[in-house]
């Protein structure tokens, strides 16, 4: 499945950008607020957010080793993710991207010496990528809901100690259904503003929200924020 995401599906907020810039919302001056708003409009206008996903039947989960076997491949999801997905009877892999125009705009601004503007545009690109992931997650939920199925949280290679190198297998299974996103030899996606992941599907699964206490990635800035 492929979907291009309408800009109304994006919820880039000035507050989030301020947060990423480390500016307390009550201390932002008009100059900065106007600048962020203007750059959000410009960036959203040139972005081409899209997402692709494919659903695979019969995943087998091994909770002891924290692995999943699917289509003859072993995924090293890690115990925490395996546990959360273990009741799934199907899984969806997805890739979503903001496209590369926002990235290029950011680079150009930085090159021209407008580092603040370049940084803000870069942060907006990351927000768009995250929004795309939210969007595709909901879309999968709606699609599956039509068949009376539910979905789990989404998890990404690289999160919660699931090695990013598993991206190779994920992309292999998605074949060309990746919205033009390419994987490098070192398992990174180009354009940069892209996200990938897995969603579990089944009658008895649930979306539990994120439970940081089980994950031991202490350094994660997302920890206990959601």
């Amino acid at each position: 499945m492929v979907c291009s995401i309408p800009s109304s599906g994006l919820r880039i907020s000035t507050d989030n950008i301020l947060k990423s810039l480390g500016v307390p919302v009550d201390q932002a001056d008009d100059y900065l607020m106007d600048k962020i708003q203007e750059l959000i409009l410009q960036s959203v206008g040139i972005s081409s957010p899209s997402a692709c996903w494919s659903v695979f039947p019969d995943p087998r989960f091994l909770n002891e080793t924290g692995t999943m076997s699917l289509e003859g491949k072993i995924f090293h999801l890690n115990k925490m993710v395996t546990l959360a997905l273990s009741k799934s009877t199907r899984v969806a892999f997805f890739v979503g991207t903001c496209g590369d125009a926002v990235e290029l705009l950011s680079k150009q601004l930085m090159k021209d010496g407008h580092s603040l503007e370049g940084l803000i545009v870069d942060l907006i690109g990351s927000e768009i990528a995250e929004d795309v992931a939210d969007f595709v997650h909901k879309k999968i939920e709606e699609d599956m809901g039509a068949d009376g199925l539910k979905v789990t949280n989404r998890y990404s290679p690289g999160y919660c100690k699931w090695p990013v190198s598993d991206q190779q297998q994920l992309f292999h299974l998605l074949r060309d259904n990746t919205c033009g996103v390419q994987l490098t030899g070192s398992s990174l996606m180009l354009p940069i503003k892209s996200v990938s992941g897995i969603v579990g599907i089944g009658k008895d699964v649930k979306n539990q929200g994120y439970f940081c206490s089980i994950c031991d990635a202490d350094y994660c800035l997302y920890r206990d924020k959601k």
């Binding site: 407008h114 580092s115 603040l116 942060l123 690289g158 350094y219």
Partner: protein, 226 residues
Amino acid sequence: MNNDDLLTRILTCVELGKVNRNTPFPPDMKGMDGADELTRLALERGIKPSEILNDALIKAMDKVGQKFADKKIFVPQMLISARAMNASMVHLKPYFQTGEVKRKGKLIIGTVAGDLHDIGKNLVAMIVEGAGWEVIDLGVDVSAQKYIHTIQEHRDAVVGLSALLTTTMHNMRTIVADIKNSFPAVTLMIGGAPVTEQFRAEIGADGYASDPQGAVAYLNSLIHEV
């Protein structure tokens, strides 16, 4: 306006982020000359470029760094100040080339192989540059080879490595070893959310900082050692 007043005005422009006459920021300096015009005037008056650099620009950026550390200003203001400083630096450039004025030193920086997260690295680069260092930014997914090649051309540079993925922290270890193998005397500074002082000691890098101010403080400490 005597020469001292002129230097103070350049300092104020950089501190408050007044780039040139046309820039709207800060609102209460609208229509006034900025770092650009005033630096040109100072040079026309025969003020030494090294005086402009040391008594106005670097002093201004020191103040900016202190205000940032005291949470009186945030990243955006710091970048606007850095831009005003660059507007002034444009006029000083010819004197750097002849060797009449010297920057504090050089930093080669990049996000290590296998990683594309560069927001933090970019911030460090911009702020280190604002603090009077020349910065050579190698971008993302940078291999040991690329670092070594660049060091060959800039033997006196300090090298900064950034990683955001735990998997690329491992690459950091091998890249640090490879660089030290080729250039035992080069100073390596590392950073990124999952990186710690303990990890630095483990992999044999020389410096670690958790934020741009820490990076500047570390770099400046290298000059004082000499």
